[in-house]
């Protein structure tokens, strides 16, 4: 009798297993899922790797005011400012960030930089695959964080394309 009892128990268990097998998945299908995030899903407010935004003309929004660097509690933003000229215009204002580095060894994703930015230039994207075997890869340069050109400007936009080696990244920065 005992054996029948066991079989019944297994059958009951397996019925749940087989029943669930054909239902849609509940957990995230990372990293085998579709899309740029490979199935990972995020809340809107998730603070991932930073994205430096452009304005509607494709110019960089960052004006190198250094306020993000001043606000950053882990002191991980490094900026070198330079002046825009008629021939070489990178941002909408007088000044732009010639160098803009964030050191992800130190960043704690607190979002203070985003709060501080007067031009909404720096934002948190959803990039999260930042792990690296080499700490120096974790110092992201401006080119890695810059948002792609707005689609309506097309691939041949006169703005700033040469600055970004190999064109702008097609995705928000994903980590090296």
């Amino acid at each position: 009798m005992a054996i029948l009892k066991d079989i019944a128990a297994i059958a009951k268990g397996m019925s749940i297993t087989f029943g669930e097998m054909f239902k849609p998945t509940q957990v995230e299908n990372y990293p085998d899922g579709p899309g740029p995030f490979k199935g990972a899903k995020f809340q809107e407010r998730f603070r991932g790797a930073h994205v430096l935004q452009r304005d509607e003309n494709g110019l960089e929004k960052c004006v190198a005011c250094f306020l993000c660097a001043a606000a950053c509690p882990s002191n991980c933003i490094y900026i070198e400012a330079a002046e825009n000229t008629e021939e070489h215009r990178v941002s909408g204002a007088e000044r732009y960030a010639k160098v803009y580095d964030i050191d992800y060894n130190r960043c704690i994703f607190c979002g203070y930089c985003v709060e501080a930015c007067p031009t909404d230039a720096i934002t948190h994207g959803h990039g999260f695959e930042l792990a690296s075997f080499n700490a120096s890869n974790l110092v992201y340069r401006k080119e890695q964080m810059l948002a792609p050109q707005p689609a309506h400007l097309g691939a041949n936009s006169i703005f700033n394309q040469a600055e970004v080696e190999g064109g702008t990244p097609s995705l928000p920065a994903q980590g090296a």
């Binding site: 004006v63 005011c65 250094f66 660097a69 001043a70 900026i79 007088e94 007067p118």
Partner: protein, 783 residues
């Protein structure tokens, strides 16, 4: 003046009659906001920010123009006052751009501060703002009109402080604008005082604009390395690929002898440090070519060569030339190195004034040298020779301010109609070269009148007038040498409280002379021949006078001078020496650039400049000040370290050269607290008590100990020096000196926009000069 009693916000204030209300409030720590008021400038009453309530007066009063009166009862903060100030800020912001994130003033802008304190969060104006493109007025001055709040500080400082009057106001009322004197550009002295004084970001500086932000820099207080006046400057530095780059110079904190003054060279001409031609690697001549080498290689070679020559031909076969830009410690060390390690008195420098004669004349007289501060305070100033506006901008500023603010009487005797004559109570034109005759005449030699020209009565009247001046400061240029100086001092001794100031041209000319960069003088003007404390301290140093700079060239030509060691000098260009005379000598040059002298060298060592090291310098009036390391260029070394390393490579015990590791009485066990913060505080305390640990042979403070102990006149308070104060050295206990040949004095060919080798490598000075050349040389309002 009698004191007046007033009440400010319930506090009783006692202040001299005639004080402005705003200053009276400041004296008890009550800040009244202001834009247009600036101490020492004329009153403007333009911005109405300083409104306060004075009882019994119907309307709010401007504290910056109201003079205190007995019994005044003042309120500086109330709803009514806040409302008024808020209204003023709102008006100012009416057409003000939202530029703060890019504006150079952002972070240290007075308008930002006021807006934070009083500003309205929203504006009642909806009209579009009136934009104007930024204008470039000169290579160093830019103007962004919409940011201007029309406080007229720039106009007043240029007009009153600088006596240039290159800025003015166009139009009236709301359409007033600040404008340059020459249509669309400035024709001026390019001092940048207007930029410095501008409370907002309307006037910006060509060298600093859009580069960084105030809080992103480190700020280091040090001393300008150009002319001999020794302005204190705060350098803003930031990280760069090659070390630390200097991006800004100013003296906003008004510390030091110069208040907030800096001329163009102090404010902008630090850029030579980052010139692309800067040497960053030692060079050794191999197969006739200067080839990059390592430091070890270079020191080893120099040590070997110097030792061999000293052994074989003796110290007199080696010559040493020092610099007018290196610190006192380096100069002292260099002459000690020459005398003790090389065994040679062949040491000299480029002289620009006859300090030995000056020291000898003032020997035994206390309080006889005038400091830069005295020039600002003295009731009367006599200026003989020189053109301070061009060559000593700070001195000129001090004199102008003194005349303007203290109604001091200025007497100018010059062979040119120099600009300072405009401030002079008496100006006398004399034939070129007659400055000495004037000194002789003052001393009572009426025969000297013959070479002065003019009427005898006029000259005698001037002399009698000068004799009645109390506390007269007598400033003279390098036109006066030897006996002229003695005569002048003789005259001065008849004038009660008279003080003297000799003008030399470079940042540490006075220090080089005081530290004994002379073939026949030890530090403190002691003759080498006289057995004295230096002979005792240093042991067997040669007591026969060595060769002066031209004599070294002669000796090299004759094949007798086998080695030449040049530290931060360019004798080939300055003295027009034929470079081939040194073709058989082993020449070592320490410099920043491949100068005319460096190109003929066998070894060139890349040196740091005065902004990249610490130590002390003495300005032309004998004010000793501390220099601190601000910038850094990777691959260079300070001259101090190089001298020690060469001595070491020669097998010399460097402890005999630099007394480091001595005199430390601190308990090492207790200097390190549990936290690093404690340790730091302790180090500060040690420094303040003269107990700093001089642990390294490269520590200039160890040599400063020796200087203070041995060099007469340098025994000043170390604590005051380390705190960044200037202190006067003097000649009262100097040695008797030795008469010098006057032709050895070669004044620098510098002007307002020129600064020897440093100036040649400054892009800013070049762009200013090119700009001047391009403009037609018409007569300007500025003279």
């Amino acid at each position: 003046m009698a004191d007046v009693n007033i009440t400010v916000d319930g506090k009783a204030v006692k202040t001299p009659a005639g004080t402005l209300l705003i200053e009276a409030c400041k004296s008890v720590g009550i800040e009244v906001p202001s834009f247009c008021y600036y101490p020492n400038l004329s009153l403007q009453g333009a911005c109405r920010m300083c409104l306060v309530k004075v009882e019994k007066m119907p309307k709010l009063q401007t504290a910056c123009t109201t003079v205190v009166a007995e019994g005044m009862i003042v309120t500086t903060d109330s709803d009514e006052i806040r409302q008024a100030r808020k209204g003023m800020v709102e008006l100012l912001l009416g057409n003000h751009p939202l530029d703060c994130p890019v504006c150079d003033a952002g972070g240290e802008c007075e308008l930002q501060d006021m807006t934070f304190s009083y500003g309205a969060a929203e504006s009642k104006y909806i009209e579009p703002k009136n934009h104007r493109e930024e204008q470039q007025w000169s290579p160093v001055v830019f103007f962004d009109r919409p940011r201007c709040i029309l406080c007229y500080r720039c106009v007043r400082v240029c007009n009153e402080g600088m006596d240039v009057a290159a800025l003015g106001v166009q139009n009236r009322g709301v359409s007033s604008i600040i404008a340059p004197n020459n249509e669309d550009h400035l024709e001026c002295e390019e001092c940048g005082m207007c930029i410095d004084i501008c409370p907002v970001g309307a006037l910006t500086s060509g060298s600093y604009r859009y580069k960084t932000r105030p809080w992103e820099m480190n700020h280091v207080g040090t001393v300008c390395t150009h002319c001999g006046d020794g302005c204190k400057t705060t350098l803003g530095v930031r990280r760069a690929d090659t070390g630390m780059e200097i991006v800004r110079g100013d003296n906003r904190d008004k510390s030091g002898i110069n208040n907030d003054f800096l001329c163009i060279k102090g404010r902008y001409a630090f850029d030579f440090a980052n010139h692309q031609d800067r040497l960053t690697q030692p060079l050794i001549r191999k197969n006739g070519q200067l080839t990059p080498a390592t430091w070890e290689e270079a020191f080893e070679l120099i040590g070997k060569k110097f030792s061999a020559i000293r052994e074989k031909d003796g110290g007199q076969a080696i010559g040493v030339i020092g610099s007018n830009h290196t610190t006192n410690e380096e100069n002292y060390l260099l002459q000690k190195f020459a005398r003790v390690v090389l065994g040679s008195n062949n040491i000299d420098h480029h002289r620009t004034a006859d300090f030995p004669a000056f020291a000898a004349a003032l020997r035994g007289r206390a309080n006889a040298t005038a400091s830069m501060r005295d020039v600002y305070n003295a009731p009367a100033v006599l200026l003989i020779g020189n053109d301070p506006t061009e060559k000593h901008p700070l001195l000129a500023w001090q004199i102008r301010s003194n005349v303007r603010l203290h109604r001091s009487r200025l007497y100018v005797v010059n062979s040119q109609p120099i600009k300072l004559r405009r401030q002079a109570a008496g100006f006398q034109l004399i034939p070129a070269g007659a400055e000495g005759a004037f000194a002789a005449f003052l001393a009572g030699e009426d025969a000297a009148l013959a070479s002065l020209g003019g009427s005898k009565d006029g000259w005698t009247a001037l002399r009698d007038k000068l004799k009645t001046e109390e506390n007269l400061v007598i400033v003279f240029g390098s036109e006066l040498r030897e006996g002229d100086i003695t005569a002048l001092v003789k005259f001065g001794s008849a004038v009660p409280g008279a003080k003297f100031l000799a003008l030399a041209d470079y940042a540490n000319s006075r220090g080089a002379a005081d530290m004994g960069l002379y073939p026949d003088l030890l530090p403190g003007y002691l003759p080498v021949a006289e057995a004295g404390k230096f002979h005792q301290e240093w042991g067997g140093i040669p007591s026969a006078p060595g060769l002066s700079l031209p004599e070294m060239a002669e000796s090299a030509k004759a094949g007798k001078l086998k080695a030449l060691y040049v530290v931060g000098a360019n004798p080939i260009a300055r003295f027009g020496i034929d470079p081939f005379v040194f073709s058989k000598s082993f020449v070592v040059v320490q410099d920043m650039f491949l100068t005319e002298t460096a190109v003929i060298a066998d070894v060139v060592l890349p040196a740091a400049n005065a902004y990249e090291k610490s130590g002390s310098v003495t300005n032309t009036s004998g004010d000793l000040q501390l220099v601190k390391k601000a910038g850094e260029v990777t691959g260079t070394k300070g001259d101090f370290e190089m001298i020690v390393r060469i001595a070491d490579a020669m097998g010399f015990d460097v402890r005999q050269l630099v007394p480091f590791g001595r005199g430390t009485r601190a308990d090492m066990g207790q200097t390190r607290g549990a936290q690093s913060g404690e340790a730091d505080r302790h180090a500060v305390w040690l420094e303040a008590n003269g107990l700093e640990l001089k642990m390294s042979p490269f520590d200039p403070m160890a040599i400063l100990d020796e200087i203070q102990r041995l060099v007469p006149g340098y025994n000043i308070s170390r604590l005051a020096l380390l705190s960044g104060n200037d202190q006067q050295t003097n000649f009262a206990a100097s040695g008797p000196a030795v008469a010098q040949k006057p032709e050895l004095i070669v004044p620098a060919a510098d002007g307002l926009f020129r600064s020897g080798t440093l100036g040649r490598y400054s892009h800013t000075l070049h762009s200013v000069m090119e700009n001047k050349d391009r403009q037609p040389s018409e007569e300007v309002a500025a003279d």
